[in-house]
Symmetry: C2
Subunit: 267 residues, 2 copies
């Protein structure tokens, strides 16, 4: 028998949140604290919360709900001890009447005792699984943002929430496209399998070469584009539903949790 060994390093997710909370990290969380689940964030007043929860339940592919807080409570103990959603994301967007009004690096001054925080799964988790399986992802190789498009697909409305689905696109050889579908289907709580592949006009994408939300496609001969439901969808839905007040993460500036991606892999 040997003595139990103390952990040699601080938990990397918590260490990153500490840096963010202290205001020393205000940029994207992409690729940081590898292996740890990152989440999209939506904060709404309590009188909009039940409808948003119903919207997530009706639209699990774009809005896979993994945690929600009690009204006024900025913690999410199910995702990590000591998480404070007011300070632990590098950058927030504040919406007033459905319009993105300001960006903040800390929302403590805006917090209210009727706010409810929702954490939604994020594609970073399945991207990690793809890379681990040897399936290359072009935009990551090129250090670019993922291409993200507004589609013509309506989400399923719930209460006052409605709007069109946003998708992210990743392109692969056919053999890797099959593997990407196989692998991501094992992660239903982080968007799961793609919703479409091939002809982008079939889902109402205006121009494959002009993503609405950044990125530059680089689709080569013999490759096929795959489209996944995207966690940016709630932001377009909020623009459509126009709640008086709402706060979200800024794209790429995620909540880094203490949970492992692997915990979200379906057996």
């Amino acid at each position: 028998m040997t003595e139990p060994t103390a952990p040699s390093t601080v938990d990397p997710a918590r260490a990153l949140r500490d840096e963010i909370r202290a205001g020393r990290h205000t940029t994207v969380t992409t690729g940081l604290a590898p292996g740890y689940l990152q989440a999209n964030l939506v904060i709404l007043p309590a009188d909009w919360a039940e409808e948003f929860a119903s919207f997530c339940a009706a639209n699990p592919k774009p809005c896979p709900l993994i945690a929600r807080s009690e009204p006024g409570d900025p913690t999410l103990p199910g995702l990590g001890s000591g998480i404070d959603v007011r300070s632990d994301l590098p950058r927030y967007r504040v919406f007033r009447d459905g319009v993105a009004a300001t960006e903040e690096t800390d929302i403590a001054a805006l917090w209210r005792d009727d706010l409810v925080a929702f954490a939604l799964g994020c594609s970073y988790s399945f991207e990690a699984a793809l890379l681990e399986a040897g399936v290359p992802i072009r935009h990551i190789e090129q250090g670019k943002k993922v291409c993200t498009y507004l589609t013509g697909l309506d989400t399923i409305p719930a209460g006052r929430f409605h709007g069109r689905m946003v998708v992210s696109m990743r392109n692969f050889t056919v053999a890797n496209a099959i593997r990407a579908i196989e692998i991501t289907s094992r992660y239903p709580r982080v968007h799961g399998a793609p919703i479409h592949f091939g002809d982008s006009s079939a889902i109402g994408i205006a121009d494959i070469d002009k993503p609405e939300f950044g990125g530059e496609p680089d689709i080569r001969p013999g490759e096929v584009p795959l489209f996944w439901a995207c966690g940016v969808t709630p932001q377009t839905v909020i623009e459509a539903a126009k709640p008086p007040f709402c706060i979200t993460h800024k794209a790429g500036h995620m909540l880094v949790t203490d949970r492992l991606n692997e915990e979200f892999r379906q057996a």
Copy 2:
């Protein structure tokens, strides 16, 4: 407490095998004994058996080995009690020096004490899973044979066994194609996920409208063809390797086992 209830009906797989053994069922097993795993059969002399086992191990998608017998033993107890591979399939093909010589409904007279039987997983299992999930399969709806093609893809050689892969094709809308990949990837022991979709010339299929092994494609606008590694592959490999003696099932005339398809679903 109630008395234990005796089974109210005879096991349907065993009942079907009994009919086949008695010579009362000599046609295809397609759609019969639903829920029970059906298998491809390859019988080879013992001095070819280890090389064929290696070939299966190297090519698990076309040749997913689920059971093999001892030399001279016509039973496969792992697949069902009382199975006798000499009489329990409706129709056999007998190959001599790699050439299909005769068809038989019983091979007891051809049996030798050096023969080894191999059972390989069959796509009927994943087709059942697709139908159960509400994914329609055109050739089944139309009561036709599945379209099956010789490809330009080489299998991985093992010993004297080598040859090109045969694939079966099923066409779907894109949304159902994604579901079909998700579902079949859970059945790696019955061919698993498709090996290709889309452009058939990319895998060396000469003419999508002219399947080498029967069926008539009916691919409609917006649909995509998916190609699965097929259990007919061993028959083309036997034609190429030319063992002096070999017996296989005839396409569609399968070994019906006591095992449930669901047992072969990966968790």
